[in-house]
Structure formats: C-alpha cells, structure tokens
Subunit: 276 residues, 2 copies
C-alpha cells in the first residue's frame, strides 16, 4: 500500500539510505529520488537500487509528495528553508534529526505539512556502505508535532513509521530534547571524554567492559558535534546532573563509605536491569 | 600435562568455578577441592563436576600444591593470612583479584610462593550458575610479581595461564593498579553514575548506545564496591582526569566552539578505533 507517491530523500547516509531501502521493499512509496552532497553516495545508492534517480539540484522537490531530510542536523534547517519555496502545497516534509526543538520550531513556520521525526535506529557506523534493511523494524520512532502540525500529515507519517515496523511515540519537541540529552547525548559525551582520558599505551589491556562502554565514541564527529551543539542547553544540564553523581562517588571513596557505595551500586544495577 | 597435583579453589564464583572447569578439562591439575562461603555454590560445583570435593574448613589447604584465592577482594587478604599458617612450604598460592598492590604486598610477606594474578575475563554476571568454559582462552592475564616473588612459582603460574589460552602480561602491582583504574574501574564508575543520573521514566526510550554504555552497571555491587575501594587512590586520580575532560566539554558547548568540539570527537574516535 503506497502512502506517498513521489518521494525525495535528501541525504543518503545510514538513515536516509536505509529508509529508501525499506520504503521500497515494503512498497510504501512510488518513485524515490536521492540527493546527496557526496556524489559518490548518491551514485552508489542508485546503483544498488536504494533510489531510482539521483539529483544534484534541490529543484527536484517540486513534484514530490514526501521529502525526507536526512542530512546532518546543521544542514536540515538550511535545506528545509530552501525547499519550502519549491515544494507543492500539500507536500509532506519530515526530518530525522536527533534534536528537535530548533528544527521543528523553524521549519513548521514555513512548511505547512512539516512533521519532525527521530527514528532511534542509528549506529556509530555511518555512510553509504552501511545501509541496512530492517533497522527500523522493532525500533522506536519519536514523532514531535507542535501546535502548527497538520493532523492529516501527522497521521500519514505515523502510518509510514508503523508500516516500517517502528513503535511510534509522540512527544513535544521540548520534551524530546530534554529526554534525549540524558539517554543519548550525555552517554555520547561520556564515551568521547572517557576515550580522551585513557592513555593510548593502556589500551592494549582493555577488556570487553571498556569496549562496550565506548562503542559510541566511534560515532561520526561531524554528525555528533552538530547534535551536541544543537541540544547544548539540555545537554549542559544533563552533564551537571552527572557531575553531581560523580562528586558523590569521590566523596564516598574518600570516606571509604562502603555502605553508601553499595547502595549507589545497587541502585544502578536495579535501574540497569530495567533497560534489558 | 599436570602442572600441579592437589589444588584448592577458595571461592567458586564465575572466575573460580570457570577456572576449575578449564583446569580439569585441560588436565593441568589433579584433584580439585572447592571451598565457598555459600554452601549452595560449592555443592552445585561438585554436582556439575567443577570440583571433586567440597570443603567447609580452610584446613583442607594442608596438602595442597596450589591454592587459588577467588573470593571477593576484601576477603582475599584475610583468607590469605589465615591459610599462610596451614599450607605446605612449597605450596603455590595465587589470587585473581582486580586490584593488586595491597594484596601482593601483604600476602607476599607471609606466603613464600605467592603470585598475584588478574585474569581479565570477568563479566557483569556472577555466581555459580554462570560458569563458562573457555573464558580464559584468548583473554589476557596480568601477573604482578614483586621483589619477593619466587621465580620458580612465577614460572609455573605463567605456564598455567598460558596453557589455559591466556596471553600473560607481567606488571608491577603498582603499575597494574594505575592502569586498571583507567581502563576498568573508571568505566565502571561512569556506568554506575550514568544509570543513577537518568530518570527511570526516560528508560523506555533508550537505544542500543545507552545499553552498551551501561552494560557493566549491572556488575555485582558487593564485588565492585570492594574493587573500587581497594584502588581508591588511583581511581580518584582517574576520576579527576575524567572530570577535566568533562569540564572542557562544557566549556566548548557554552562557547559553541564547533571547531574544537570536532577535534575532541575526532581524537576520541581515532583512539576508539584502536580498541577494535
């Protein structure tokens, strides 16, 4: 069942490319046109059948029924503003950025059918050679409407993610950014900072624990510097909350307070169990 | 080829039990006697054939050729001191604790053939039901002799770990504790603190990144409170180093210094690549 006919994916990296793959596989859309600032990416996407056509000019959005903005976060607003003057009136536009408040607030003003989305299906791998079919199946997609969001566009976009197998959760952009600061952006900052704390000559002795803890430190620096900056207010609060927990650890260690240390570790273990 | 004849394993948890399993499988030792403060554990170990005999009194070490101290770290020194008066003169004693300076310094004074060991083969799972054969194969074992260590005992213990498939690395106890503070104890502290920072109601939205980052937060609180306290001097320094990196992150975010942020993230990614 086609939900949209002509679609344009701007940015054919891990998320954009994998989306193309699954939308086609599940026959949810018609013709897919891909755009990327990296010509190599978009040509490769065409070659392996993720998209039908490659384009280099944003003008191709003119007859699109759905445009997916899947570029790094800094460019999403720029491109959104540019295409707002080129799209059809009823064209639905979604983005897949990792922070939502700035994007949704700016783009919902100029695009009548804009719907902010954040599929929690990324990975530390990026780029065209890491397309993966089925990464949205069983994952969560947060949709972040605001007061301006068109309800029919929202309904169609919800349906699209559900058909891809995602569990859809609706949050305000503000709430989304507050939560993501803790569950995603803070863990990334800690992983980056941890790698930068450990002397290179110690790495040979690392065990599985360190590897798991720092897997996300291999995330793309360009993508992630933009994500972190785009949510810096919430992230700074999250870092401060974390620092207070770390200060408590230091105090407990200095005082050899085994009883309180046990309590802290037990609370962490109990909460971790809930993550599955 | 038997390296030791009669051996006693004190503490039949994950490491002690798995050691028994592999020592027997590879015919590296003769009769294995197991001791545990948990009667259930030691009975289960006997039932599944990890040990030949179970015992409740430390007196069984009297005719042992090798004693393995595999209890939580706090008890290692206590039990080591106790058995020092009961063992044969040529009995080799090893421990498998995660910090080494205090243990090696105290036990090498009273046990002529004491050799401190730290197999990097643990996991967040513990206890008798998590025995695993082959966990030492391909892993690293750090052996930490000091000036008092008997060279023949050291040679035999090295051989034992090599026959189990471990890569043996020799470090002083002091160096071991400094390094482990960074590559193991600090990551655990961060994982515990991160879990305690995140509000429980946010957990439903977590993705794979957070799960990986906090896997070790499910580690046993009793075991880990002791490990952290036993290496608190080095750990406090490691936490302070980490805090400086975190302060830099805050500064960079406050100043929206994208260029420096990119550099920090690139450095982390490069180092993470080396971890494999």
């Amino acid at each position: 069942m086609k939900i949209f006919n002509k679609i344009v994916i701007i940015g054919t990296g891990l998320i954009g490319g994998s989306l193309g793959l699954d939308l086609r596989k599940k026959h949810l859309v018609g013709k897919i046109t891909g755009l990327s600032r990296r010509k190599k990416n978009v040509e490769f996407s065409k070659k392996i059948g993720v998209i039908d056509c490659s384009a280099t000019s944003l003008d191709v959005v003119a007859d699109a029924d759905l445009v997916i903005l899947a570029t790094p976060i800094e460019v999403i607003i720029d491109i959104g503003l540019k295409i707002s003057k080129k799209i059809k009136k009823d064209c639905v536009v979604i983005d897949v950025g990792s922070s939502k408040e700035a994007i949704v607030s700016k783009l919902s003003r100029v695009i009548p059918n804009f719907v902010g989305c954040h599929p929690l299906a990324g990975s530390e791998k990026k780029g065209v050679t890491n397309f993966e079919s089925g990464i949205f199946n069983g994952s969560t997609c947060i949709i972040t409407p605001n007061a301006k969001t068109n309800s029919q566009a929202l309904r169609k976009v919800k349906l699209l993610w559900k058909k891809l197998g995602s569990q859809v959760i609706i949050l305000t952009p503000k709430k989304h950014d507050q939560i993501l600061a803790f569950i995603s952006h803070l863990p990334h900052v800690l992983a980056f900072a941890l790698m930068n704390t450990i002397s290179e000559k110690f790495l040979a002795l690392s065990s599985g624990g360190l590897k798991d803890s720092t897997r996300i430190a291999a995330s793309d620096p360009e993508l992630w510097s933009q994500i972190l900056l785009s949510n810096r207010g919430n992230l700074l609060s999250a870092i401060s909350s974390f620092q207070r927990k770390l200060d408590l650890f230091k105090l407990v260690l200095r005082n050899k307070n085994n009883k309180l240390l046990m309590k802290i570790l037990e609370a962490a273990k109990e909460k971790r169990k809930k993550l599955g």
